[in-house]
C-alpha cells in the first residue's frame, strides 16, 4: 500500500526543500509519494529538474496560498 509523506519545508533555508525531499525519499518505499511544501520559489523549478535527472516521477506542482506544493513519486 503506497503512502503519501507530507514535508512542510516552508521557511527552510538549510538543508532546504530539495535536500529534504532527497532525505525523505531515502526512507520511502517505491511507489510512495512525497508532498513537499516550500516557500522557496526556486523549488518549483529546482525540484522538477532533479526529479527528471534522478528518474523519479513528478506528480504535480501547484501554488497553494503562501507556498508551492510539489508532489513526487519514488520510482526506483
Amino acid at each position: 500500500m503506497s503512502e503519501r509523506h507530507k514535508v512542510d519545508a516552508r521557511g527552510a533555508y538549510c538543508p532546504g526543500p530539495l535536500m529534504e525531499l532527497i532525505a525523505t525519499l531515502r526512507h520511502c518505499a517505491i511507489g510512495d509519494e512525497v508532498e513537499m511544501w516550500s516557500t522557496d520559489t526556486g523549488s518549483a523549478t529546482d525540484i522538477p529538474a532533479w526529479v527528471k535527472k534522478a528518474r523519479h516521477e513528478l506528480v504535480g506542482v501547484s501554488q497553494e496560498g503562501d507556498h508551492w506544493a510539489i508532489i513526487v513519486r519514488k520510482a526506483h
Binding site: 509523506h5 514535508v7 512542510d8 519545508a9 521557511g11 527552510a12 533555508y13 538549510c14 538543508p15 532546504g16 526543500p17 530539495l18 535536500m19 529534504e20 532527497i22 532525505a23 531515502r26 526512507h27 520511502c28 526556486g42 529546482d46 529538474a49 532533479w50 535527472k53 534522478a54 528518474r55
Partner: protein, 379 residues
C-alpha cells in the same frame, strides 16, 4: 507525587536540557517535587564538531572526550541503559536492561547516526570523520596519502551541513602544506544543483573553488561504491574514480524511534514552534531527533534545548507556556586552516554570511574549548 522528567538520550541536546532544568528547578529538586532521569547510550560525552580536526592532527582525542557524569549536574539520575521502546500511550520507556521508566514529561533526544551501510560498498570503500573510529582511520589514510584524486562526497540527510565544505578547504590547505597539491586533485560532490544547500554559501564557494582548483560534481546522489575498482557512482549515472574517498555518510535517527512507531527513518514528527511531538502534550523532541526541515547541528540542538527548558520549567512551576522556538541556527564555517566565517538564520530570516576572517576562525577554536560550558548550560 514528584513530577518525573525523563530524558532519553545523553548527547548535547539532552545534556543541555538536563543541566538547564537542574538550574531552574533547584527548589523543586531540593524539596523532592521533581526528579530528572536520563537514559544514555554511552558513559562518555564526545564533542562531535572536534572530529573535523582529528584527521589533520589539529585536535587530540583527549580534548573531545569527558565522562558524561562529570558534564551532568549531580542531581540528574544518569543511567547508561539505552531505551529500546518508547510507549507514549502508556507513558513508559523500556531499556536494554529490562527496566521500565514512567514519566510526567518525556524529552526525546536520541539524535542521529551515520549509516554508511545504506549505500552498497560505502562502508568498505570510503573514509569519514563523523565518529571517532572513522576520524582515526582517515587520519591514518591521510598520513599515507602521497597524491592522487580525492573525492569528497556528501549524502543526504547529514548533520553539520557546513562540514562538507569545511573538510574540503581544510584538506586543500593540508595538501598544500605537505607540498602535495601539484600531485593531487580534489573533487567535491553534492546532492543538489549547487555547492551548498545555503544559496549565499554556495555562491561564495564558487569563486573559492576556482581559486583553489577544486572541481565539483553537483546533482550527485550516491548509488554505490566499488572498493575494488575504486569508483563511486551516483543515482544520476555519473561515475568517478578515486584514490581516497572521503564521505559524509547518510544519516538516520535511532532504531528505538522506528521500533516504537514514532517516526520514519528515526525522525519524530515535531511541531516546529512548540517542539512537542505531533499529537502529544507531554513529549518534547529536541536536537537531531526532530523531523524539522532545519539543520541538524549542535547550535540547533542548543537553541531548541533552551526553548524546551523554559517551557518545561514554566509548565511545572506556573502551568503555562513560556515561548516558541523560532528556528534559530548558528554555524561557524571554517574556510581553511586559518580563516572562518559564520552564518545564522531562523524560520523568517534568510542567511547572510560575512567575508571569512582569521578572527572568526580563532573564535571557533576558542569555542572548541568553551563547548563544555555550553553542555553544562553555562553558555
Amino acid at each position: 507525587m514528584a513530577k518525573k522528567i525523563l530524558i532519553v538520550g545523553g548527547g548535547l541536546a539532552g545534556t543541555i536540557v538536563a543541566n538547564g532544568l537542574c538550574r531552574q528547578l533547584r527548589d523543586e529538586l531540593g524539596a523532592g517535587g521533581v526528579t530528572i532521569t536520563m537514559l544514555g547510550a554511552e558513559p562518555t560525552h564526545i564533542y562531535q564538531p572536534g572530529l573535523l580536526y582529528v584527521p589533520f592532527g589539529h585536535m587530540r582525542e583527549a580534548e573531545l572526550l569527558r565522562e558524561q557524569k562529570s558534564v551532568l549536574d549531580r542531581r540528574v539520575s544518569f543511567h547508561v541503559d539505552p531505551a529500546t521502546r518508547v510507549d507514549v500511550d502508556k507513558k513508559a520507556v523500556t531499556t536494554v536492561s529490562g527496566q521500565t521508566h514512567g514519566y510526567d514529561f518525556l524529552v526525546l533526544a536520541t539524535g542521529s547516526r551515520i549509516r554508511p551501510d545504506m549505500v552498497p560498498g560505502m562502508a568498505e570503500g570510503a573514509h569519514w570523520f563523523y565518529d571517532l573510529a572513522g576520524a582515526r582511520k582517515l587520519r591514518d589514510a591521510l598520513q599515507q596519502f602521497q597524491g592522487g584524486r580525492v573525492v569528497i562526497n556528501t549524502n543526504a540527510p547529514h548533520k553539520c551541513p557546513v562540514a562538507p565544505l569545511e573538510i574540503t578547504f581544510m584538506l586543500r590547505d593540508h595538501l598544500a602544506g605537505r607540498g602535495l597539491l601539484d600531485k593531487s586533485e580534489i573533487v567535491y560532490t553534492y546532492p543538489i544543483g549547487r555547492l551548498h544547500s545555503l544559496e549565499p554559501v554556495a555562491n561564495w564557494a564558487v569563486p573559492e573553488f576556482e581559486r583553489c582548483g577544486i572541481k565539483s560534481e553537483v546533482f550527485f546522489n550516491t548509488k554505490s561504491v566499488d572498493p575494488q575498482k575504486k569508483t563511486i557512482t551516483s543515482e544520476e549515472d555519473t561515475t568517478l574514480e578515486y584514490d581516497l574517498l572521503i564521505t559524509i555518510p547518510p544519516h538516520s535517527g535511532q532504531q528505538v524511534i522506528t521500533d516504537s512507531g514514532l517516526g520514519n527513518g528515526g525522525w519524530v514528527p515535531t511541531e516546529r514552534n512548540t517542539l512537542l511531538r505531533e499529537g502529544s502534550s507531554d513529549v518534547f523532541v529536541v536536537g537531531d531527533t526532530t523531523n524539522l526541515p532545519i539543520s541538524k547541528a549542535g547550535s540547533t540542538a542548543h537553541f531548541e534545548a533552551d526553548t524546551v527548558i523554559d517551557n518545561l520549567v514554566s509548565l511545572i512551576k506556573e502551568d503555562r507556556w513560556a515561548r516558541h522556538y523560532d528556528g534559530k541556527v548558528f554555524c561557524f564555517v571554517e574556510t581553511g586552516m586559518n580563516s572562518g566565517t559564520y552564518v545564522w538564520f531562523n524560520y523568517a530570516t534568510p542567511p547572510n554570511p560575512g567575508p571569512p576572517s582569521q578572527m572568526v576562525h580563532w573564535f571557533k577554536l576558542a569555542y572548541n574549548r568553551l563547548y563544555w560550558l555550553s553542555a553544562r548550560g553555562l553558555l
